[in-house]
């Protein structure tokens, strides 16, 4: 019995040594990959930051109003935001690559799935970025147009434009990642449809006078309009 116990212990020890001997090089490989990834991510961040500074992206983002949104969300400037995003995406990629070297079967499948998701995450971030730019630019254009034309509640029009573009952008980004795809599409359809229906009902029931005034303003008596402001030129 003593021999059996000793043999069992020896076997367990042998297995442990074998396991450690088998695992340790993979662990070291993983650490090496992560360290290399860290270095590459640093370099890529630095390079991207320099390129973005050269292209004056921050100025463009400032003009388009995207920086305003980032500041409101206590986030850094646009070039810094993109550089940091690249850093973390690269590092995440290398960490996943390193973990996959460990050959833990349960993790392998998840990592493969995450790797498939990585390009989609990048595309989703780009969609959000373009969405922020578009929402700010178009909502500001709507605000200026409404203010200068003398429409009532210009911020409402501006906010509506911004809201619709944000909803569209977030839906597209989530759909890109494949997160609750059907729910997102259904939610978007419901929200967008509801807004449009509400507007149609509001305009139809409560805005008949406004509709008449608007039509009168554009296709009605232009001479009246002519008299409202002196000729600028």
């Amino acid at each position: 019995m003593k021999n059996t116990i000793l043999r069992g212990l020896a076997q367990a020890y042998e297995n442990l040594v074998h396991m450690i001997a088998d695992f340790l090089p993979r662990f070291v490989t993983m650490l090496t990959i992560i360290l290399a990834g860290l270095l590459i991510a640093f370099l890529l961040r630095k390079i991207l930051r320099s390129i973005l500074h050269l292209t004056k992206l921050d100025r463009i983002s400032e003009q388009a109003g995207a920086s305003h949104v980032l500041r409101k969300a206590a986030m850094p400037s646009m070039s810094e935001f993109l550089s940091r995003s690249l850093f973390w995406i690269t590092l995440l990629g290398f960490v996943l690559l390193g973990i996959s070297v460990l050959r833990i079967p349960e993790l392998q499948e998840q990592i493969a799935h995450l790797f498939q998701l990585l390009p989609q995450i990048v595309v989703a971030i780009l969609i959000l970025f373009v969405g922020i730019l578009a929402a700010n630019f178009l909502s500001r254009a709507a605000l200026l147009t409404a203010v200068n034309a003398g429409y009532r509640s210009p911020r409402l029009w501006s906010g509506l434009v911004s809201f619709i573009i944000w909803i569209l952008t977030i839906s597209m980004a989530l759909e890109q990642i494949g997160l609750a795809r059907q729910t997102v599409v259904a939610a978007f359809s419901i929200v967008f449809g509801a807004v449009m229906l509400a507007l149609a009902i509001a305009f139809g029931l409560g805005g008949r006078d406004l509709a008449r005034q608007t039509l009168d303003r554009y296709v009605g008596n232009r001479d009246r309009e002519k008299e409202e402001e002196p000729s600028p030129l």
Partner: protein, 426 residues
């Protein structure tokens, strides 16, 4: 022949048959069938009366009329004007039609300038067939200073109703005068004259493609003439009457075109004006800028309301563009009673310079930036109306001169804003 690739083969064929000329009159058109004959008659009468020995061509650059304007131009009858008293031109007059695929004024003016360079015209004039007061005298007054006195750019002067053309009198003229140092009153005129030398200088520049001047290339031509030390002058044409037909001039569109072009010219020619102070008067032919005493029919209440709402709604944008002191003053103005609003010369000058500086530093999309000026301009003209409700034209003119001097006095402020960007405070 630098513009061979730009001008169409059809136009080149017509110009080859014309050969070299001394005078060129350009008539841009778009659905002007009712008035184009008057423009042709004005040009031909002026040739017969004032330039009987010169070779001349009239060029109609059409932007795609669908009412037969080019045919009306070619078929307009030549007639003897009573002014000519039997005089006939010793040379054959030519008419040329150019069809412009791109309907932007820049493309149209570029065609006229390139044509002038190609036919080696010594003196050129551009006239609008839509101008109700257009006559042979106008064409003559635009061509004479170039032809006889060797000037290179002739800006028009008009007699105006005393509350008309306020964008020109309260913004374009005072600001361009202070920046460029030359007293050209009409930077955005539909009529002007220029020499063959200036045409050659402008013809091959890249600026024709610049988005900011697509709708008002004449502003850029005037700024180029000033900054390249061409000889500039002004010539009185007559009363500026608004066309009876067509939609009224939209204020927002006018500001986007005129102010956008002025700011862009200031930026592209900053080396010229940064060191200059004061302004020089130009040689002027005829009276200098008459104001007439006709009554104005204006909805002042609406202008005030648009100013007040505009300032309130755009306050985050104005905070970005304006100096904090200027912004505080404007926000305060918007809270005042409509009878006590006074947008004075000092504040208006600082506002314009803040916008110019912000435009230079591109603190906002430039088209949006220029649009944000519209409510403030409304506040300024509202204040102008209040102050001059019963003023005589001479008093109004004196006030406009004070504004010009204020802008000249504050030019160092513009230079300071130009060199040092404001911090974005949103």
């Amino acid at each position: 022949m630098a513009e061979e690739s730009f001008l169409t083969d059809d136009l080149l064929r017509q110009l080859i048959s014309v050969g070299e000329v001394d005078l060129l009159v350009g008539i841009p058109s778009l659905n002007n069938v009712a008035t184009i004959a008057n423009a042709v008659a004005a040009a031909e009468d002026s040739f017969q009366h004032a330039f009987p020995r010169e070779r001349a061509v009239i060029v109609n650059v059409d932007s795609g009329s669908n009412d037969g304007t080019p045919d009306a131009f070619l078929n307009a009858s030549s007639h003897q004007n009573s002014r000519g008293r039997g005089l006939t031109s010793l040379r054959t007059g030519h008419r040329v039609v150019a069809r412009c695929d791109t309907p932007s004024p820049a493309a149209v003016f570029r065609t006229i300038v390139a044509t002038a360079e190609l036919v080696r015209a010594k003196a050129c004039a551009v006239v609008s067939p839509a101008s109700p007061g257009l006559s042979a005298g106008w064409v003559e007054n635009l061509l004479q200073p170039v032809c006889r006195q060797d000037f290179d750019f002739v800006a028009p002067l008009y007699a105006r109703q005393r509350f008309d053309g306020l964008l020109v009198r309260q913004l374009l003229y005072p600001m361009s005068r202070a920046i460029f140092g030359r007293r050209i009153r009409e930077l955005l005129a539909t009529e002007f004259g220029f020499s063959g030398r200036l045409a050659s200088n402008c013809a091959n520049r890249d600026a024709w493609h610049e988005a900011s001047i697509q709708d008002s290339p004449q502003t850029w031509m005037a700024a180029t003439a000033i900054s390249s030390d061409f000889r500039c002058c002004q010539s009185f044409l007559g009363p500026k009457v608004r066309p009876a037909a067509g939609p009224p001039t939209d204020l927002v569109t006018a500001i986007r075109q005129a102010v956008g072009a002025l700011f862009w010219c200031a930026e592209s020619q900053q080396r010229f004006w940064m060191q200059r102070t004061g302004s020089e008067p130009l040689s002027t032919f005829g009276p200098d800028h008459e104001l007439t005493d006709e009554p104005a029919n204006v909805n002042l209440e609406r202008i005030f309301e648009l100013f007040r709402c505009g300032v309130a709604e755009l306050s985050p944008i104005l905070k970005t563009l304006l100096n904090p002191d200027t912004n505080t003053e404007i926000q305060h103005l918007a809270t005042l009673d409509e009878r006590s609003l006074c947008f004075d010369n000092t504040l208006w000058a600082r506002t314009l310079y803040d916008f110019a500086g912000s435009y230079h530093h591109a603190l906002l999309n430039r088209d949006h930036l220029v649009q944000a000026l519209v409510p403030l301009y409304r506040g300024r003209i509202y204040s102008f109306f209040l102050r001059h409700a019963s003023s005589s034209p001479a008093e109004m003119e004196a006030d406009s001169e004070n504004l010009c001097l204020e802008l000249e006095r504050q030019k160092p402020y513009l230079i300071e804003r130009w060199k040092k960007p404001s911090e974005v405070v949103i």
